[in-house]
Symmetry: C2
Subunit: 243 residues, 2 copies
Amino acid sequence: EIVDSLIAHGKTLGHEPESPESSAQLFAGIHIMITAGPTREAIDPVRYISNHSSGKMGFAIAQAAQAMGAKVTLIAGPVELSTPDKVARTDVVSAQDMLNAVEREIDEQDIFIACAAVADYRIAAENTQKLKKKAEELSLTFTQNPDILKTVAQRKQPPFTLGFAAETNDVENYARAKLEKKQLNMIAANDVSIPGLGFNSDRNALLVITKEHTQKLAPASKSALAHELMLLVHSEYKRTHKN
Amino acid sequence: EIVDSLIAHGKTLGHEPESPESSAQLFAGIHIMITAGPTREAIDPVRYISNHSSGKMGFAIAQAAQAMGAKVTLIAGPVELSTPDKVARTDVVSAQDMLNAVEREIDEQDIFIACAAVADYRIAAENTQKLKKKAEELSLTFTQNPDILKTVAQRKQPPFTLGFAAETNDVENYARAKLEKKQLNMIAANDVSIPGLGFNSDRNALLVITKEHTQKLAPASKSALAHELMLLVHSEYKRTHKN
């Protein structure tokens, strides 16, 4: 019955998309913080580890949330994107930088959307001088970065939390496990192994998972998808958080 | 006396810069290949290692060489730059890709300018699935990438070779050692630890080193610097390579 009601909901979304006007004030008075893009973890002054996140999905969500009336704070890793209108943006480089920026303003947030592809690991001991190429083989040791989303979700009074999962295999299982382990309200999963969708693409498709529901958002432009996703966030937020 | 003549040359360059018209045909009929930007070495389908090279210096050199009449081939790593006018560009990702692209056309080149910041190492065994965050610590083993510049310089009939050295300390010594070890005609070194110059900046300063000479090119826009550098390349090329 849960699945049925979901499919019905999905169909409703698909057939009668809310017009921009009707959704313009959905998030009025609501503070939403969004992280976007990759982080970069320095190996030495020249080299770094990063990932293929372009930041486009996070920026599209920031734009959609703002268009729906939210007060949006965007914390962005190194990306080549311009700031959406009326969105407050802070630029960061590393995962630790991003956590610091998030924590500075998290108290005022009602909804936290972790769209950034935060590096799981940083180098254990950063080299202050450029490493020289000597050995045939090089071994580097990495240590876990702080988990920003988990840190936010574990606060005494956490905001509504939406996480993302970029997976190459077994997408739904990994995403649901992440939802439960980190105690999130919602997770949006995408399969980054599908060519033409996800990282660096202008299109994406998502599997949106809550404790009880799974809903597929079909391939679309990231901006259309961001709008659909924020409608789902809105109904789940209204259902789970008192006003 | 060598130093004196160099300083005199430097002063000449500084005080009487050749006008675009007078240098317009310096490289007429000469093929120049330039590598530019960083390379990216995949750790898994999502993560990679790269470096802070923006490609701006290499693209400025390509533009300057073309303006001086050369037939220019530009082999570029992942950068956010548009192709200079009348320059043939090939885009690559990894060091191995870049070597392949260089080798495909190196036979026709008179001058090879290795401006790319090629990753010295790639991961020993690339992971085809995304690594999961499990252990508190992660150890990765890297293996040396092919040395593109050395490969070109060691050919039976090598083109004139200009290498670059981005260093954070002891710049001149490291650069001169690289020149000798790789048997280059010329090396251009910059200190990437100076704020406002080098990586990602629009300005740079260079120390241009040949077997007998060292010449400082003072801080300037990368495009002005590229023009000065190509004048030095021209005189050294004419001196060392029969026409």
